[in-house]
Amino acid sequence: MSVVKSKSVKKVTRRTATRRAAKEVSLAEIKLSARDSKRVLADLAAPPPPNEALKKAAARYKQHTAKKQS
């Protein structure tokens, strides 16, 4: 009996792990509509320049990481 119980517990654990993994993996598939596909492909072919907020954030990031390294 104890052997059967042990096997059963192992099975549940594996199933739970698989379910969790599946939940994570499901995040990894993003299907785009036709008009979003067009938009994304156009952006990837000709990426927009970074905006001012992103440029400033990058400058702050570089300054901070440079300080840490010195």
Binding site: R20, A21, E24, V25, L27, A28, E29, I30, K31, L32, S33, A34, R35, D36, S37, K38, R39, V40, L41, D43, L44, P47, P48, P49, P50, N51, A53, L54, K55, A57, A58, R60, Y61, K62, H64, T65, K68, Q69
Partner: protein
């Protein structure tokens, strides 16, 4: 502030960003996912040995399935980096921790793109507040799913983030 991989020394249970699902992910799933190599979680801390987590980000590889127009080749997959989670502890919010974590993700995306194909950083914003945070930095919305945001790798490369 530095960004290091999540490890057992970090006090995950004390972390509270105000959003239960993001707290729970860090406390219960982040390390398991990293061990299974599904995703990677990095934490912002004040020093290498510091146990207090200021904030964290989790990323994994994803694909964008595009429908070609016209549909000669009906579908194609574009590799991208999915920013699955980004959160900052309540007491550290408004101090630039989120921005620092985001820039760390973008720098990592550049590093990955130098080794293999990667076209964008994508994410699914949890709330309107989160969405406006990313829009401020130029993330673009999908028209049919406005909480899905993306930033092309070409835009990120222009920032000249030095790999470290």
């Amino acid at each position: 502030m530095i960004i290091v991989p999540l490890s057992p020394q970090h006090d995950r249970q004390a972390f509270d960003c105000g959003e239960p699902s993001l707290n729970q992910y860090l406390q219960q799933h982040a390390r398991q996912s990293a061990e299974r190599r599904i995703s990677r979680t990095f934490v912002a801390v004040t020093a290498p040995e510091a146990p207090v987590i200021l904030g964290y980000h989790t990323t994994l590889v994803t694909t964008l399935e595009v429908t070609q127009v016209p549909a000669k080749v009906s579908k194609a997959r574009i590799p991208a980096l999915l920013l699955a989670r980004l959160a900052v502890g309540r007491q550290f919010q408004g101090q630039g921790v989120g921005e620092f974590l985001l820039l760390d993700v973008l720098r990592r995306a550049v590093v990955i793109s130098e080794q293999t194909g990667l076209y964008a950083v994508v994410l699914d914003a949890l709330t309107e507040t989160a969405k406006s945070f990313y829009l401020r930095y130029g993330f673009r919305e999908l028209l049919d799913d406005p909480f899905h945001l993306y930033l092309p790798i070409g835009t990120i490369i222009e920032l000249g983030l030095t790999p470290s």
